[in-house]
């Protein structure tokens, strides 16, 4: 097995070559505005350092490009939002609660039609096909190219969304349709919001992935391209272009997966300390635990598979107040090598404190020699407290945990921490994100409400469905393993109702 893992972050593009389960080499290059030339430069640097040779099996790319497009409000397409839920929900039509600027760019129109299901799988209303055809006609007339379809309780019964998507594709040739049940679970507004955001990014995703393919071709690599997902798995490029929203959090996720791989640990807390922020997450069976609550993206409330992360303003470039010993949240960011004291700058940063304390050898140590030792100790005590508090927040139960510290600023994490049994540091920890991309697998998952079934039956049914979805996504059926099974009883509903979430992962099917 030989793979190239690439993580395109806001500041750096990291590339690693992984062969036969070992990290051969990793390099960093600045991220470029066009993304592609940064990747080419990084892979060129990799090729200059080691012989990539023949027989690369796969290229795995993680990118923050799509989520940045939402946050920065650029390159978004107007979306036709069709909701199947009348006569309910008309008080809160699509785009309700969106920031005006984002709605202005993405609102291609909203159509509400009758149909959908109830929580127990019974039909809520028959799907109004005549209204669906009228909507399709109007969408075609307006020349819209992207659509998002959301039906009531579609995570339980997706038939109405699928029927409408089929009709739209027939009536509006070339229309890209996102079905909400492929994106998120129960919670109509949040699932719909996520589906609309996804649809608005479809064209950008297509272009970006084509650019990745071109970069790969220019380097003469013929191996297939995969795009990393929020849950730490990958999707084939052809599938990934349809779901750009699933790569929103791939950066921190890849770091966590890389940390798991490099350390050989499957149950641990991971902290990725960068230049500006530290991301804390919980590894469960080698994967980041998923958030179970709404996540705001670009000011929009959404609900889809996202890792449960806590970010705080602590990094190598964090500003330090010598008087109050406060650290962050502001940071000098990528200007560290100009502004930090050890590089001859005028700003006291966390990096300067670490150099003064002898935790790190960077720049000119003599420039921080005059910092009062008591102040340095006090600042380090403060950063230790910050790390301890966040580690505790991401824990799921009491008891000491293992903490894996990765990222360029990992020197800020001390070896002894309250609530932490041991701190693990790994080789290549600075490019854990690209390693996480390189080693990613494919997944299948289910989030459904069951009634009148035993817990075991419900989980078994979910498992079957999840397996089928993973295989459809390109997994080798023999390699499938269960990584998450969670059932939650539901208040007020009769018949022992429970919500079951199941996720399986498997290796990519060799071709």
């Amino acid at each position: 097995m030989k793979r190239i893992g690439i993580d395109v972050g806001g500041t750096n593009t990291d590339v690693v070559l992984v062969a036969d389960g070992k990290v051969v080499h990793g390099v960093k290059a600045p991220t470029t505005a066009d993304v592609t030339s940064g990747i080419v430069a990084a892979i060129d640097a990799l090729a200059a350092a080691v012989d990539i040779g023949q027989g690369v099996d796969a290229v795995m790319v993680g990118t923050t490009h799509f989520v940045n497009a939402v946050v920065q409000r650029r390159r978004l397409n107007p979306v036709a939002a069709i909701r199947i839920a009348l006569p309910a929900t008309s008080d809160l039509p699509p785009f309700t609660g969106w920031p005006a600027d984002l709605a202005g760019q993405t609102q291609g129109g909203a159509w509400l039609i009758e149909g959908g299901h109830d929580y127990d799988g019974r039909r809520f209303m028959p799907l109004d096909l005549a209204a669906a055809r009228r909507a399709a006609h109007e969408i075609r007339e307006r020349g819209l190219r992207c659509a998002a379809v959301t039906a009531m309780f579609s995570p339980l019964d997706a038939s109405d969304e699928e029927a409408l998507a089929q009709l739209l594709r027939e009536e509006c040739p070339g229309l890209a349709v996102t079905c909400s049940h492929r994106i998120g679970g129960i919670g109509l507004l949040e699932r719909e919001n996520a589906a609309i955001l996804n649809a608005s990014l479809i064209e950008l995703a297509g272009e970006t992935v084509r650019a990745f393919e071109q970069a790969k071709a220019r380097l003469g690599i013929t191996a297939p391209l995969f795009v990393t997902q929020n849950d730490g798995t990958v999707a084939e490029a052809a599938r990934a272009v349809a779901y750009p929203i699933f790569s929103f959090a791939s950066g921190p996720t890849n770091s966590m997966r890389g940390a798991a791989y490099l350390s050989g640990l499957k149950e641990a807390i991971v902290v990725d300390v960068g230049g500006t922020t530290s991301d804390f997450g919980h590894l469960r069976q080698g994967f980041p635990r998923e958030a179970n609550a709404a996540v705001h993206v670009g000011g929009v409330r959404t609900l889809f598979r996202m890792p449960d992360l806590i970010s705080i303003g602590l990094g190598g470039g964090s500003l330090v107040d010598a008087a109050t010993h406060r650290v962050g949240p502001l940071s000098v960011g990528y200007r560290l090598t100009e502004e930090a004291l050890v590089f001859g700058g005028k700003t006291l940063t966390a990096t300067d404190i670490a150099v003064a304390a002898g935790l790190l050898d960077l720049g000119e140590r003599s420039r921080v020699a005059q910092l009062p030792a008591a102040m340095v100790r006090a600042v380090l005590a403060r950063t230790t407290e910050m790390v301890e508090e966040q580690v505790d927040r991401v824990k799921v139960d009491a008891g000491d945990v293992t903490l894996i510290a990765v990222g360029g600023g990992a020197f800020l994490v001390p070896d002894a921490l309250q609530g932490v049994a041991r701190v693990v540091r790994v080789e290549h920890g600075g490019c854990a994100n690209a390693v996480g991309a390189a080693i990613a697998q494919v997944s299948g998952e289910v989030d459904q409400v069951f009634q009148g079934k035993t817990r075991a039956e419900a989980i078994a049914l979910s498992r079957e469905l999840a397996d089928a979805r993973a295989i459809e996504a390109g997994a080798d059926p023999r390699s499938l393993a269960l990584v998450e099974a969670e059932d939650t009883p539901i208040a007020y509903l009769p018949g022992n109702a429970m919500r079951v979430r199941v996720k399986v992962v498997g290796d990519i099917q060799a071709r």
């Binding site: 839920a85 006569p87 309910a88 929900t89 008309s90 008080d91 809160l92 309700t96 609660g97 109830d118 929580y119 127990d120 019974r122 809520f124 209303m125 009531m152 309780f153 129960i186 919670g187 109509l188 507004l189 609550a293 505790d392 927040r393 991401v394 824990k395 799921v396 139960d397 009491a398 409400v449 939650t488 009883p489 539901i490 208040a491 007020y492 509903l493 009769p494 022992n496 109702a497 919500r499």
Partner: protein, 358 residues
């Protein structure tokens, strides 16, 4: 009478969630719907209980249902308004105003949604002063007022009138059954109340109270002050415990979310532990095996930093929380009131020991 402003509505959503004492459902959807109705030029008037004449009819509304179903069916101002109109048709007379059965959670906002459609004012009162899980847990039930009739509405056109039940418990059973058939959600108009009944048995001023609470939190957040201190000052509440969640246990029995959570003390409470039980809402707080505070007093669990309320469905390990207690409505502190909503009504073999007043 005063017109509620858009800012009042934002504050009401925050305050109603705090008064939900862990349950009552999120007011978020109702807030979104009201923002939209206000943007369209509609508005809602609030009147005090003294502005209702003795023989005026007042509609009492709520949405019954499972929180999970509400996540898909959302809110609907026309449905809750239709529940009121259906009751008017049944009674053959018009309502002068509408009020909430419970101010806590999303149901604290439902009268505003109905009023925005019907053009009648909202009465500044409810029948719980918080949220409770069952129909007989109201001041109206304590006052032995008639439990029926009730209208229950489904958006697909089904409308059920429960014209007569002998007791509040029967009303709970019958209306719950209808609600289940409708998909575990129904817009309802409860037994209508006369102005005299609202004044005698309603809990006055609770909409204003929720608005004031919400405003205190929002202003403290804006000024970067301690929002919890602001809540305690607004409502003469008491801080009971600050700590972090170290255990959560949930189970669904008889259609209720029951369970317990344990907090480990931080700051002045370092070294201490408390246990908090719940049945949809928070019920009893225990310290060293002894009850510290219980229903009917309002136990609120707040995020220690933001001051925002945390619900029994979403509380989880590691959260930093502050438990506060707010005074209960006087009507529930009587022997008869305690029969309906005291700790024994929730299956605890303990006497109610008030934190306030004695």
């Amino acid at each position: 009478m005063r017109a509620l402003t858009a800012d009042d509505i934002e504050a009401l959503a925050v305050g109603a969630w705090i008064l939900g004492t862990g349950g009552g459902g999120s007011p978020y959807h109702a807030l979104l719907a009201l923002r939209r109705l206000y943007a369209q030029g509609r508005h809602v008037d609030l009147i005090g209980v003294d502005e209702v004449a003795d023989d005026d009819a007042v509609a009492v509304v709520s949405v019954m249902g499972a929180p999970l179903v509400i996540l898909e069916r959302l809110v609907d101002s026309r449905q809750i308004a239709r529940a009121v109109s259906a009751m008017e048709e049944h009674l053959g007379r018009k309502f002068k105003a509408v009020m909430a059965i419970e101010i806590g959670g999303g149901n604290g906002m439902q009268p505003l949604l109905a009023a925005s459609q019907l053009g009648i004012p909202v009465v500044d009162a409810d029948a719980m002063g918080r949220a409770y899980p069952e129909a007989q847990m109201t001041s109206f039930a304590v006052g032995n007022l008639a439990p029926s009739p009730l209208t229950s509405i489904d958006p697909r056109g089904s409308e059920v009138i429960v014209s007569k039940t002998p007791t509040w418990k029967w009303m709970e059973r019958t209306s719950r059954k209808v609600c289940t058939e409708f998909g575990s959600i129904a817009a309802t108009c409860k037994a209508p109340r006369s102005g005299a009944e609202v004044r005698r048995w309603g809990i006055a001023g609770t909409t204003t109270k929720a608005i004031q609470l919400g405003r205190a939190v929002r202003e403290a957040q804006r000024r970067h002050d301690d929002p919890i201190e602001a809540i305690l000052q607004t409502e003469s509440g008491r801080r009971l415990f600050s700590g972090k969640v170290i255990e959560v246990e949930r189970r669904t029995t008889e259609g209720f979310l029951r369970g317990r959570t344990v907090f480990d003390g931080l700051g002045v409470d370092r070294g201490a532990k408390v246990e908090l039980n719940f049945q949809n809402e928070w019920t009893v707080l225990w310290r060293d095996g002894r009850p510290v505070v219980s229903t009917p007093e309002l136990i609120c669990v707040l995020d220690s930093e933001s001051g925002e309320a945390i619900g029994t469905e979403t509380i989880r390990y590691g959260q930093r929380v502050t438990v506060i207690v707010l005074p209960a409505a006087a009507v529930f502190l009587t022997p008869r009131g305690l029969e309906h909503v005291g700790p024994r009504a929730f299956g605890y073999d303990i006497d109610f020991q008030p934190v306030f007043g004695s």
